[in-house]
Amino acid sequence: MFKRLWAVILKETREFVRDPLYVSLVVIGPILMLVMFGYGMDMDVEELHMVAVDHDNSEYSRELLEKFQHDNTFLLQETIYSTAQAEEMLKAAEARFALVIPPDFGSKISRGEQAELEALAEATYTTQAQTALGYAEAIAQQYLDQIWRRRGGEGSGGESSGESWLRGLPFSIGLQHNVWFNPDLESKNYLIPGLYAIVLTYFPAVIASFMFVRERETGTDLNYLASTAQPWEIVFGKAIPYGLVVSLVQFVLAAIALGIFQVRFQGSLLLLFLAGTFYIFCTIGLGLFISVLCRTQISALIITVVAVLLPSFMYSGLYGPVAPDEPLALAISHLVPAYYFVTICRGIFLKGLGLTYYAFEVAALFVLTLFIYGVAISAFSKRRKK
C-alpha cells in the first residue's frame, strides 16, 4: 500500500539533494530572512540625534539634560536657546528630536509644582518618534522621581507629582505613551520569536508551492496522471521529505535567534522543535495546495507571497495584537496559521509556558492542517486542462 508513497518520497529526496538551487533555497533562504528582518525590523532607538532648547538654564534644567546625555537612546548634539532654531534643525534633519525646557522649569520644580516640558519629534518614522517620546518621558520621570526621593518623598506634588506633560508639536504625530516595557526594554525579544514563526511559514510554503507545478512545467506530472497513483500518495510523498529537511533548518534558525540575536529564551527547545515541525507540515500543505492549482512556478510564487506571506505579516500579530476592535481583521487572523504559531512561539521563547497553555492554538492549528491537506488532495486532478 505504501510502495507508491515510498517511491515518491525516494524520488523527491534524490532530486532535492542533487539540486543545489533548492538546497540553498531551503537552507540559506530562511537564515537570510531571519537575519535581515531581525536587524532591519529592530525598533529600538539608539543615539537619536537630539537638540535641547534650554530657556531655563537653571541647575535643574542642566541636571535633566545631563540625564539625557547619559542615556544612549539620545545623542545630545548641542544645547541652544531658541525654539525657532530647533525647529529649523529638525527641518534640516540635523536633529530628529528636540526637548524644549520652558523658562520656569527650575522654579516650578523647586516650588514643587507641575513642570512642563515640550518635545518636538521628527515623526517621519512614526514608530521611532513614538519610541523616542516614550524614552524621553521615562527619563524625565526618572529624574523627577529622583528629586522627589532626594526631598524624602515629600513635596507638594500630590497626585500630580512626577507628572510631566509632553507635547508634540508640528513634527510629532499622535503623541501617545506606548513604550514597550518588556524586561530589557528591547524589541528583539518580542520580534525575533514572531519572525521565527513567519520564516517557518513562508519558506516551506514557497518550496512546496513549486513542487507539483515544477513537474507540470517539465511534463513529468504525466507519470502520476497516467498511472494509478493516488492523489494522497503524491501529496504526502512530496510533503514528507521536504517537511523533514525543513525541520532540520529549525535548529539553525534557533541557533541564530539565541546565538546572534541573544533573544531571551525561557522555554523548552524540544517543545519548540516539536511544535515547529508540526507547523512546517501545515505550511507545506498550504504551498502544495497552491502548487496543485497553479500552472507555472512564477504564478505559484506570486500567489504564495500574496496569500501566505502577506497575511502572515499583517494578521499574525507580529507587530502587535491584531486590532481587537476590527471584527473582520480578527476573523481573518484566525484563519491564518501564523497567527497561532506566532503566539505559541512567543509563549515558548518569552514566558517558557508549556503547550498546555496553548491548547486552543494547537487545536486550531491541527484543524487547519487537516483542512489544508484535505483541500489539497481533493483539488489534485488526475486530468490536465490542456
Binding site: 510502495k3 507508491r4 515510498w6 517511491a7 515518491v8 525516494l10 524520488k11 534524490r14 532530486e15 542533487r18 539540486d19 517539465t218 511534463g219 513529468t220 504525466l222 507519470n223 502520476y224 496522471l225 497516467a226 498511472s227 494509478t228 497513483a229 488526475k382 486530468r383 490536465r384 490542456k386
Partner: protein, 619 residues
C-alpha cells in the same frame, strides 16, 4: 473487437481553438496505428484523451472493455503513455536506474518481473553501460529509448506514443522502431503512435491522417497509396535550379520537390504540363506524403517569382576548430567548415547535437572555448561590431511579436537595425507579404510567419544569413516552399546562408552539408558526396518486398544484421546487391507468395547512420 475505439470525440480549449471536431477512430489490437498530421492537427489532444489525462467535451472512448471516461483509473493500470518531448517524463536528476526504480514502485511491480525485463530491454537499447548516468546527461535518442522502457515496464496492453522520434538521431530512431516492433510482437501490444513524420507513417499498419482537428483519411499505407496509383511521376533534378512554374490545380494535382527529385501528381492518363513535358518523367510509387498532400488543402504559399536585382556580395565564412565546453560537457568538439557566397550550407543533426551552440559561436553570441571564426579573413570575435552589421540572424523561436501586425513588426526591426525603409517595403513585396501588412502576426498562415521572420532578418541587407531551425513545426508543404524561398534568396542576393535542421529529408535542399551528432562533426560535403561516402564505406541497399512480409522479415532479420524495415519494405545494407539478392531468395525459398528484390539508393537517413557508425568506430 478493436483495442481502442473512440467515437465522436470533440475538444476545444477556447471558443476559437477547436482541437478535435467529432473524431472517430479505431485501433486494432496487436497492431501499430499511426495518427499522422502536422503540428496542431489535434493528434496529441486525442492521445491524451485516450490516456485518460484529458477530458473531451463530448464523445466516448473505449480501451479494451474499459470505458475511459467512466473508469479512468482502471484504464491506467493497462496503458503505457509516452508524452511528447525528448524524455519529457524523465527526472533529469535521477539516474537511469533510479528512474526505472521510481516507475517500478509507482506501478507496484514485483522485483522478479522487473529484473527479468530490464536486462534484455537495456541491452537492446544499448543503455546498459549508462545505467548510473543521470537522465539529464543522456542524448535525446537515449532519453526516448529510456522513456519507452519506462512506459512498458508494467506490461500494459496498450502503448501510446506521442511523437516519440521527433528530433532524435536517425540511429536511435531506427533502434526505437525496432524495439517497438519487437515489443508489439512479443507482448501482443497495441500501439498508437502520433507522428508528423510521413516516412514513419509507412511503418504503421494503419494510419489516420489528421488535419485541423479532423480525420481526413484512414486506411493502411498500402491502401492509401493505391488510391493514387498511376498518378505520381518523378524526375531526378539538380537542386541548384529553381522550380519550373507549374500551376497546381489546373495543370497538375500536385507538384513539389522531394530531395533531389521533382514529384508530379496528375490525373491518370492526362498529359504533362507544357512547361515540363520535355523532361524524362518516370512513373513512381505514391508515398504517404503524396497521400497527405492530396487530402490536406495546400497551404497558400505561392513560390516567389524570379527577379534580377542588384547583387550584394556574400561574406566568405570560415570557422576552424570551434569547440565549446560547458563545465565537463563538450557541446561542440573541434568543428571546421567553409561557407561560400550564394550557397546554402546546411547543418544537419538531431536535437542536442550542438547545432545551435555552433551557430551561436559563429554569430558571436557565445565565446568559443577554442577555435576561431573568420568573415572575409577578418576575425569576427575581434571585430564583433563590424561583423554584426554583416549578419542577419533568425533564431530558433524567431523573435517576432505575435501581437503586432506584419507592418508593425517590420517597422520595429527596421528601426532597431536602422534599415532602409524602401528596402523593407521591397522585401515585403518580394515575399508576397504585402497583402498581409495589417494582419496580426499570430494570425498569419503557416509558413508566412517564417517569411516574415526572414524579412526582418534581411532588412539591414546582411551579407551572411543564419537561420536556426527555420522549418521546425511547419507542415511539410509549407516547409518545402520555405526552402525554395531560402534558396532563391541566397542566389538572388548572392548571400552566404547557414541553416540548421533536424529533418534529414531537408538535407537535399542544401548545397553543402555539415553533419553533427553529440557535439561531433561526423561528416561534410554536398548531399551527393555524403551519400557517396556512405556508399563507398558500406555499399548500397537491397530492397526486398515479400507478400508474406512478416515471415520474410523474421527470417531475414536472423541472417542480416544491417536490416531495417520501413513500412513493408525490407532494406538490407550490402556491397554486393546481386549476391545478397540470391541469398535472400534462398532464405525465403518455400515461402508462399511473390518475393521481389531490387537495388535501391541510400536514403539520407541511412547515409547519416553510416556516418554516425563510422565516427563511433574511429573513436
Amino acid at each position: 473487437m478493436p483495442a481502442i475505439n473512440a467515437q465522436n470525440v470533440s475538444k476545444s480549449y477556447t471558443d476559437e481553438e477547436i482541437a478535435l471536431d467529432r473524431v472517430s477512430l479505431t485501433a486494432e489490437s496487436n497492431r501499430i496505428t499511426g495518427l499522422v498530421g502536422p503540428d496542431g492537427a489535434g493528434k496529441t489532444t486525442l492521445m491524451k484523451i485516450i490516456a485518460g489525462v484529458l477530458w473531451p467535451d463530448e464523445g466516448d472512448v473505449q480501451v479494451g472493455d474499459i470505458d475511459v471516461l467512466q473508469q479512468p483509473e482502471e484504464l491506467k493500470a493497462n496503458i503505457g503513455f509516452m508524452p511528447q518531448g525528448l524524455g519529457a517524463a524523465l527526472y533529469d536528476r535521477l539516474s537511469i536506474r533510479e528512474n526505472m526504480e521510481f516507475v517500478r514502485d509507482l506501478r507496484g511491480l514485483d522485483e522478479a518481473s522487473y529484473q527479468e525485463q530490464i536486462r534484455p530491454l537495456l541491452k537492446l537499447t544499448r543503455l546498459e553501460k549508462f545505467i548510473e548516468r543521470r537522465a539529464g546527461q543522456l542524448s535525446g535518442g537515449m532519453r526516448q529509448k529510456l522513456a519507452l522502457i519506462l512506459s512498458v515496464l508494467h506490461y500494459p496492453d496498450v502503448l501510446l506514443l506521442d511523437e516519440p522520434t521527433t528530433g532524435i538521431d536517425p540511429l536511435s530512431r531506427q533502434e526505437f522502431w525496432t524495439l517497438i516492433a519487437r515489443l508489439r510482437e512479443e507482448r501482443d501490444l497495441t500501439v498508437l503512435v502520433c507522428t508528423a513524420n510521413l516516412e514513419e507513417a509507412e511503418r504503421c499498419s494503419n494510419v489516420f491522417l489528421f488535419h485541423e482537428g479532423q480525420i481526413q483519411q484512414r486506411g493502411s499505407p498500402e491502401q492509401l497509396k493505391l488510391e493514387l496509383a498511376g498518378q505520381v511521376y518523378r524526375l531526378e533534378y539538380s537542386t541548384n535550379k529553381s522550380l519550373p512554374a507549374v500551376k497546381v490545380g489546373e495543370e497538375a494535382l500536385d507538384f513539389y520537390r522531394d530531395g533531389h527529385y521533382l514529384r508530379l501528381r496528375k490525373k491518370e492518363n492526362s498529359k504533362f504540363p507544357d512547361s515540363i513535358s520535355d523532361y524524362d518523367w518516370q512513373a513512381a510509387e505514391a508515398t504517404v506524403e503524396d497521400v497527405m498532400r492530396s487530402v490536406v488543402p495546400r497551404t497558400e504559399l505561392p513560390p516567389l517569382p524570379a527577379v534580377n536585382g542588384d547583387k550584394s556580395t556574400g561574406a566568405k565564412i570560415n570557422f576552424e576548430g570551434l569547440t565549446k565546453q560547458f563545465g565537463s560537457f563538450t557541446a561542440v568538439n573541434e568543428v571546421s567548415g567553409r561557407l561560400k557566397p550564394g550557397e546554402v550550407y546546411g547543418l544537419l543533426g538531431p536535437n542536442g547535437a550542438g547545432k545551435t551552440t555552433l551557430i551561436k559561436m559563429i554569430c558571436c553570441l557565445l565565446e568559443p572555448t577554442a577555435g576561431q571564426v573568420f568573415a572575409d579573413d577578418r576575425n569576427v570575435w575581434e571585430e564583433r561590431e563590424w561583423f554584426k552589421r554583416q549578419l542577419g540572424y533568425m533564431s530558433q523561436q524567431f523573435s517576432l511579436y505575435r501581437d503586432l501586425t506584419v507592418r508593425e513588426n517590420v517597422e520595429l526591426y527596421s528601426g532597431l537595425y536602422d534599415a532602409d525603409r524602401d528596402f523593407s517595403k521591397a522585401l515585403l513585396e518580394r515575399f508576397d507579404l504585402i497583402n498581409y501588412e495589417g494582419t496580426l502576426t499570430a494570425d498569419l498562415p503557416g509558413g508566412m510567419r517564417q517569411r516574415l521572420a526572414l524579412t526582418t532578418a534581411l532588412q539591414h541587407q546582411p551579407r551572411f544569413l543564419v537561420l536556426d531551425e527555420p522549418t521546425s513545426g511547419v507542415d511539410p508543404a509549407a516547409r518545402e516552399v520555405f526552402w525554395e524561398t531560402i534558396r532563391q534568396t541566397a542566389q538572388e542576393r548572392d548571400l552566404t546562408v547557414l541553416v540548421t535542421t533536424h529533418y534529414l529529408s531537408e538535407a537535399e535542399y542544401c548545397d553543402q552539408l555539415g553533419l553533427m551528432n553529440e557535439g561531433d562533426w561526423i561528416g561534410s560535403g554536398s548531399p551527393a558526396d555524403i551519400r557517396e561516402q556512405a556508399y563507398r564505406r558500406g555499399g548500397g541497399v537491397l530492397l526486398v518486398r515479400a507478400e508474406q512480409f512478416r515471415e520474410a522479415s523474421r527470417r531475414l532479420r536472423r541472417e542480416f544484421s544491417d536490416l531495417t524495415v520501413i513500412g513493408r519494405d525490407i532494406r538490407i545494407r550490402t556491397r554486393q546487391p546481386e549476391e545478397t539478392a540470391k541469398e535472400v531468395k534462398a532464405k525465403l525459398s518455400g515461402l508462399a507468395g511473390t518475393v521481389h528484390t531490387e537495388p535501391a539508393e541510400l536514403l539520407m537517413e541511412e547515409a547519416f547512420i553510416d556516418h554516425i557508425r563510422a565516427h563511433e568506430a574511429n573513436n
